[in-house]
């Protein structure tokens, strides 16, 4: 079966300011490749600064890579740093939901804007879609008249989820999206994510420090270190047998 998301030899360098006017190149990602099938989850783990967030941003289109391709269902969407289509099939969920929602306007307005920009729905269809999506993530239709500050952390993460899902994406990138939640809310959210995956065949790219989440949710695991993939494979196999010391250290903590 064709993978839904295929990443080939993705590389990214940042130019950072050095002494005088010199620019220093700093490799954040080097030759990252992986495949993700429909309805599967890939976990990406690594020490801090290993480039996980950068990878997430590139996948979602918030940053561009320098080399390599990203293919979605066999179609190239990013080729050597050029984003082909402004595609909304890969959506990013931020770590801090309270910061990723516009505090000045209501939830309904935020969602409505997204539909306005990306679909040809009329007002009634947009309303319908907003309602359905809020219900889908376990909120109420009335919540659309609320401002972000009126919600708790767990609810905000659900809203962020609704925002990502409203355009019916194929891949969700969760960059530490569950880390800031307290354990019981996190468990609820994980269950919600798994349920959505079963129902709609979503694929997840899960970036997290929580090994229990990796074990519970992911099919494959990718270990990053200083921008390179040092180990990859089926999650269960990787947890039992791994070669590198860094993986060992990550799995022990």
């Amino acid at each position: 079966m064709q993978p839904i998301l295929k990443v080939q030899a993705l590389s990214k360098t940042f130019k950072i300011r050095d002494r005088f006017f010199l620019r220093k190149k700093f490799k954040v990602l080097e030759d990252i490749s992986f495949c993700l099938s429909k309805g599967e989850t890939i976990a990406i783990i690594g020490e801090t600064g290993s480039g996980k967030s950068t990878l997430a941003k590139i996948l979602a289109g918030a940053e561009v890579s320098q080399k390599g391709q990203i293919l979605l269902e066999g179609k190239v969407i990013e080729d050597d740093g050029k984003r082909k289509t402004s595609c909304r099939d890969i959506r990013l969920i931020f770590q801090d939901a309270s910061k990723s929602l516009n505090p000045g306007i209501t939830i309904g307005k935020t969602l409505n804007e997204i539909l306005l920009m990306n679909t040809h729905y009329d007002a009634a269809q947009r309303q319908e879609s907003i309602k359905n999506n809020l219900l889908k993530v376990g909120l109420l239709a009335e919540h659309q008249d609320y401002y972000p500050h009126m919600f708790s952390g767990g609810q905000l993460q659900r809203i962020a989820l609704a925002r990502a899902l409203i355009l019916e994406p194929k891949v969700l990138v969760l960059d530490e999206a569950l880390s800031s939640l307290d354990p019981s809310v996190r468990a609820q959210t994980v269950n919600l994510l798994l349920k959505l995956q079963q129902e709609t065949g979503l694929s997840y790219v899960l970036i997290t420090h929580h090994l229990s989440l990796v074990k519970h949710m992911s099919d494959q695991t990718l270990v990053l270190d200083q921008g390179k993939v040092i180990e990859a494979g089926k999650t269960q196999a990787l947890f039992i047998k791994h070669k590198s010391k860094i993986t060992q250290r990550l799995l022990n903590c």
Binding site: R88, D96, S100, G104, E113, H149, M150, S152, V185, Q188
Partner: protein
């Protein structure tokens, strides 16, 4: 599906409000600021309805009543509540009409500055690289000159007159305004929700109008009040220095300058415009300060 209690997180009436209503609640609880707001509204009404409210014409002279003290004085006359000046003009009528010039014109000046400042500030904030750094350096230079001095320099080029004063003050206030708006925009741009908005497929206009603007307009009102109090002071200062409004225009600063020679003979003609000026600036600053603290309090929750 997990059921969770959304009521629990919404307890406390405070949370259950739009940001604007929250702001108003905080503002209301500050009585001093509220007094400032009433004073501000009163001055605005006075400025717009001056010709209707004033008992006499601005330059209507009463040759039978020269330098009459206010009516509560023994020598005063009830017809002229705040007395008359050396030409027999009613001080009250002149002061009420002066509101239009000093306060009303200052509001107009500040509004035009706001319009220009917001447009340029947003432009400066959204642009990157060389363009933004050139703009920054120009702003830094102009910012280091006090606004009144800058206004005087511009007047020297344009020539004295009320309209030129307005232009001079607009140009003098603009750098500070652009700078503040630019900082606000840059601050907002770095936030997560703006990145999220780009990812939602928004263009610059969307990001600006739906993302940035709803979150900074209250701060712009605060900047507006600050430039308004500067504008009031600058208009009257230039009027006083005979660079702005020229007699017999009833601008407060010009009235002050005109009557300065009678300070011992008729102190009310000098004191009253001074007191009004004080209250106009005080009201503006109280409102601005109240807004600023309210904004800070709202952020703290």
């Amino acid at each position: 599906m997990a059921k969770f209690n959304f009521i629990a997180s919404l307890n406390g009436e405070e949370l259950n409000k739009s940001p604007l209503r929250q702001l108003w609640r905080h503002f209301k609880s500050n009585h001093v600021a509220l007094v400032g707001l009433w004073l501000f509204i009163a001055l605005t009404i006075l400025a717009t309805l001056a010709p209707v409210l004033a008992p006499y014409g601005v330059n209507q002279q009463h040759s039978d009543a020269l330098l009459l003290p206010p009516s509560w004085d023994d020598a005063g006359d009830v017809r002229f509540i705040l007395g008359t000046d050396d030409l027999g003009r009613d001080v009250l009528s002149r002061l009420i009409n002066g509101t239009t010039y000093t306060f009303g014109l200052a509001i107009l000046t500040a509004l035009i500055t706001t319009l220009l400042g917001v447009i340029l500030g947003v432009f400066a904030g959204m642009s990157k690289g060389v363009r933004s750094s050139i703009l920054n350096h120009i702003l830094d230079v102009t910012l280091s000159i006090p606004s009144l001095l800058l206004a005087i320099i511009i007047i020297a080029l344009l020539g004295p007159g009320l309209l030129n004063t307005v232009w001079a003050i607009i140009l003098a206030l603009l750098p500070q305004y652009i700078h503040s708006v630019r900082n606000l925009v840059v601050q907002e741009l770095s936030k997560d929700y703006i990145v999220a908005q780009w990812l939602d497929g928004a263009n610059s206009w969307h990001v600006l109008s739906r993302g940035i603007f709803p979150n900074i307009y209250e701060h712009i009102v605060v900047i507006f009040t600050m430039s308004l109090s500067t504008a009031i002071l600058d208009i009257s200062a230039l009027g006083f220095l005979k660079l702005g409004a020229q007699p017999p225009t009833a601008e407060w600063g010009a009235i002050l300058a005109e009557n300065l020679g009678f300070i011992y003979l008729a102190p009310w003609t000098v004191a009253l415009p001074g007191i009004l000026l004080f209250f106009a600036v005080l009201a503006t600053n109280l409102v601005g300060d109240g807004l600023r603290t309210a904004l800070k309090k709202r952020k703290a929750i």
